[in-house]
Structure formats: C-alpha cells, structure tokens
C-alpha cells in the first residue's frame, strides 16, 4: 500500500530466470505485486515491497524462486547466529514472548 514500505534493499528474494516457465503463478500469489511477466519470463519489479512471505517460492513449479521466508515475524526474529540474536531473545523472553 502506498506509504508503507519497509526497509530498503534487505529482502532475500532471488529469481533464476532460466528455470522460469512463465506460468504466472508467482504473480497470482504475491500479495505485494512484486513480479511481472515479460517475454514469458517472470521479473522482479517491486523488490522492496516483498515481505518474504514465501508464497511465490512455494508455488513456483520450476523452483525458480528462492526466499528466506518468515511470515510470522515475531516467531523468528531471534534465529540463532544472528548478531544480537541472543540478546534480543532474552529481551523478548523477559516480556513473556516465547521465542
């Protein structure tokens, strides 16, 4: 939606055009209009709007899309190995978030 885009240039969305069959599934499932089909191939046009929900990767029959998905932001903010992951985890635990 207009006015609400999250941080710039952070998303892990990757598309390998060779594997794309142009089936349009990604454009159908993406809730943020990230793809267009041009010359029978998918293209990323709206990268920063991607919320890494993973719908496109799940539904791409050619396995052309990869994205580290984490729809439930609160669940996985604190994956181990992330810088300050532990500290953040602790913080949230303190507040009763089980993460």
């Amino acid at each position: 939606m207009a006015g609400l885009t999250y941080l710039k240039s952070v998303v892990t969305l990757e598309l390998s055009a060779d594997q794309c069959t142009g089936c349009r599934m990604c454009t159908t499932v993406c809730p943020h209009d990230v793809f267009v089909i041009k010359e029978k191939r998918a293209r990323i046009v709206n990268r920063d709007a991607c919320m890494e929900c993973g719908a496109c990767a799940q539904n791409c029959p050619g396995d052309a899309i990869s994205v580290r998905s984490g729809l439930c932001g609160c669940a996985s903010i604190f994956i181990r190995g992330q810088k300050h992951g532990r500290m953040t985890r602790y913080f949230f635990r303190m507040w009763g978030y089980e993460v």
Partner: protein, 414 residues
C-alpha cells in the same frame, strides 16, 4: 475506553467482513506457546472426519447456532451453515480481539455445505479459526458451495500458512478424510490467497489430483471473483494495511502489553520499582515524594504504553522513517518534548530537568520497543528487514535504558 471498545467492536465487525489477516499475537496470551500463535505447541488433535461438528471443548450449545440443517451426501449428512452472522458471532470476534475469555476459538475441521450445493458446486477452503470461518461464510450469501475447513489448530489463515499448518499436507489429508471426491464431481478447490505461503499448488495437484485456484485476499471480493469465472483481478490480490486493518489489531496490543507493563507479574514489579524510585530522596526515602512524583512517573509510563500499542499502529503511514522502531521512538520523543516544553521551567530546580531528560531516553525506548513487536502483525514487513532493524535497535535500547535509569535515579537526589 468504553467508546474505544464500541468503536473497535464496530470496526471489528467491518474487518470481519473485509480481511482475514489477524495479528499473530491474537493467540499470544495463551500459555505454552511456541511462537506467539502457539501453533507448534498444540498437539495434533484427533482428526475429525467431517461428521462430528460444533465448537470444541464443551461449547456445543452456543457453538451450533450457525448450523442450519443438514445436506445428504454419499459420505453422510453434511451440516449446512448459515451465511448471516449473528450478534453472537460478532461478539465472539470482538472478544477474541480483546482476548476476553477465549482459549479455543475454533470450528471443527471438516466439510460443510452452503445453500443447496450439488456435485458441481465450488469448494472453498478455510482455516478452522472461528473468525476466518465467519469471514468466509458471511460472504457466501446466496451461493451454493462447499466449505472445506482445515485443521489449523484454531489459527487464522495467514499465520497458519506461515507455519505450514494451513498447508499442502493438511489440504491433501483433509480431502481424503472428508471423502470430498465422493461428494463432488470436479477436482478444483478455491484456497484463499493468504494461505499461499503454506500451500504449494502444484504439489497438491500431484498428491491429490486437485487443482488449486487462489481466491481473493479479501473475502468481500468473493462474489465478484465468482462472477469473474473464478479469476482474481490484480486488485483482489494485493494485501492492504489500511486504517481499519490496523485499528482492529490495537486491542490485542493493548491487552498483551498492558499485561506486561501494568497488571501482569512483570508489570507490577516495574510499577512498584517506578514508585520506589520516585520516592528516593537525599534523606533516603520519602513517602510524600511518592505521592507527588509517583503519579507523574506513571503518567509518562502510560504515555509510552499508549504510544507503542495504540498510536504507532494507528498513525503508521504518517510517522517518519521506514523502521518501526524509528516510528515508535518518534512518537515517544514527541510526547517527551511536549511535556518538557511545558514543564522545563517548573519549580523544583535541577531535579525536574534531570527527570525530563531521563524520560527523554526512557519513553521513546519503551514506545519504540513496543512498536517493533508490531512486526508480527503487519502485512508488509520482511524478516530480513526485522533482522536489520533489531541489529541496530537492540544495542540502542540497552544504552538508552541504562542512561535513562541512571538519570532518573540521579534526578531524585539533584
């Protein structure tokens, strides 16, 4: 508060009709959660086969009101559901949003009928969160269709899809368990697009022979979608995060953060500490000072709470910055600057000024922290973005908290 309650009741009603994105935190108040929606924690229930129906956990009597008769099919009697929401349903949604008395707001998984469906009627797939189910059925008015309710452990489509409970396996499973193939002659199911992160259309096809069509994001688009020969238009596929969508998420923020900051265990300790600190004095501790400064401190504390839980979500698009932590901190800063402008010259000398400075650090920290946790509920934030944000925000929080607390204590002796 009452007015706000009624307001959210009304808008909750509207949102119930609009979209099925609900805060993950919706189920967060429940114990033993893994994530905020506790989806992983709950043990799988004994699968129901579409014959046993009604709300779980002894709520049978008020759980049945949306069943209006039965339809005979080759697999037995299938309940026919009402498409008009009753006051009870709205009240239930409203209570769920405020987390009142709700532990298991779920519908039994299985197959249901709408109108007078025949083997050619379309099949709509839903989660078994009662609100998701209500949203769907209220938009099937006048249609004849089947509704296949998956077992998502009482979690809404959006969150369940993120965990995979609303997913390929469950769809394939549920199709078999309900004997759907004997009831209908076609092999197409309509899955809400918000479930797509958990569902892989081509795998469903491989494993069950069913073709998945993704329906619109908002249930209110279902009638035009059906008219459009089961094709979504681009507008139907975009997730919005409008004022109403945000507003209906605020009650759960208020309740869950209220518990942490006020009436929960941690909350009471924090408040007690705040009051103790406000009584500190050169002579040690003065009860009189608690009575004067205590309420002021609590007001600042409450302001931080309201900034984070209510005003940040509400004003989201208009707050500066992209990061939620910045948006939350900005509001907090505004409040302190406002208070500071008003109170800076107040009698009390240095103590007052240091106190304001302390809140200049503390209040934005609290409101920013609450705002960050709203990422679980938004429909546009990415995980990688959250990582990046937290990497910067957490060290800042620690620093500002320490500085703020030191100043707060120091101000008492100044």
């Amino acid at each position: 508060m009452i007015v706000f309650g009624i307001f959210t009741f009304e808008s909750s009603r509207k949102a119930t009709q609009e979209m099925d994105t609900q805060s993950c935190r919706d189920n967060e108040l429940q114990k033993n959660q893994e994530c905020c929606c506790r989806a992983e924690m709950k043990k799988p229930d004994v699968p129901t086969n579409g014959i046993k129906h009604g709300l779980r956990k002894g709520k049978q009597e008020d759980g049945q009101h949306w069943i209006a008769g039965y339809v005979d099919t080759p697999v037995g009697r299938i309940p026919r559901i009402e498409t008009t929401l009753q006051f009870k349903d709205r009240l239930g949604s409203w209570k769920a949003r405020w987390s009142i008395g709700r532990m298991d707001y779920a519908v039994d998984p299985g197959l249901y009928a709408v109108g007078d469906p025949d083997p050619k009627s379309p099949v709509f797939v839903s989660a078994n969160y009662k609100m998701s189910f209500d949203v769907l059925r209220s938009h099937l008015k006048g249609m004849s269709a089947w509704v296949l309710v998956l077992d998502t452990k009482g979690i809404n489509v959006w969150c369940a899809a993120g965990k995979g409970t609303f997913g390929t396996d469950e769809i394939v499973n549920r199709i078999q368990q309900t004997g759907l193939s004997e009831v209908i002659s076609h092999r197409t199911i309509i899955v809400p697009q918000l479930g797509a992160p958990g569902v892989s259309a081509h795998r469903v096809k491989e494993q069950s022979g069913y073709r998945v069509i993704y329906g619109p994001v908002r249930a209110s688009d279902i009638p035009p979608f059906v008219e459009n020969h089961f094709k979504t238009t681009p507008e139907m596929r975009i997730v919005q995060f409008g004022l109403i969508d945000r507003l209906v998420l605020t009650p759960i923020e208020i309740v869950s953060w209220g518990r942490r900051m006020f009436w929960g265990k941690h909350g009471l300790v924090l408040i007690l500490m705040l009051l103790l600190v406000s009584g500190l004095d050169r002579s040690g501790f003065a009860l009189k000072k608690v009575l004067i400064l205590g309420p002021e401190a609590l007001l600042m504390y409450a302001a931080a709470f309201l900034c984070g839980t209510f005003f940040t979500p509400l004003l989201l698009p208009w707050l500066p910055g992209r990061a939620l932590s910045v948006k939350g901190a900005f509001l907090g800063l505004l409040v302190v600057l406002g208070v500071g402008w008003y109170r800076w010259g107040a009698p009390g000398g240095l103590g007052v000024k240091v106190n304001i400075l302390a809140w200049l650090f503390l209040l934005p920290t609290i409101s920013s922290f609450i705002a960050v946790t709203f990422v679980g509920a938004t429909t546009y934030t990415s995980l990688s973005g959250v990582f990046k944000e937290m990497k910067r925000a957490v060290p800042a929080y620690i620093a500002t908290t320490i500085i703020g607390v030191v100043l707060l204590v120091f101000g008492q002796f100044a």
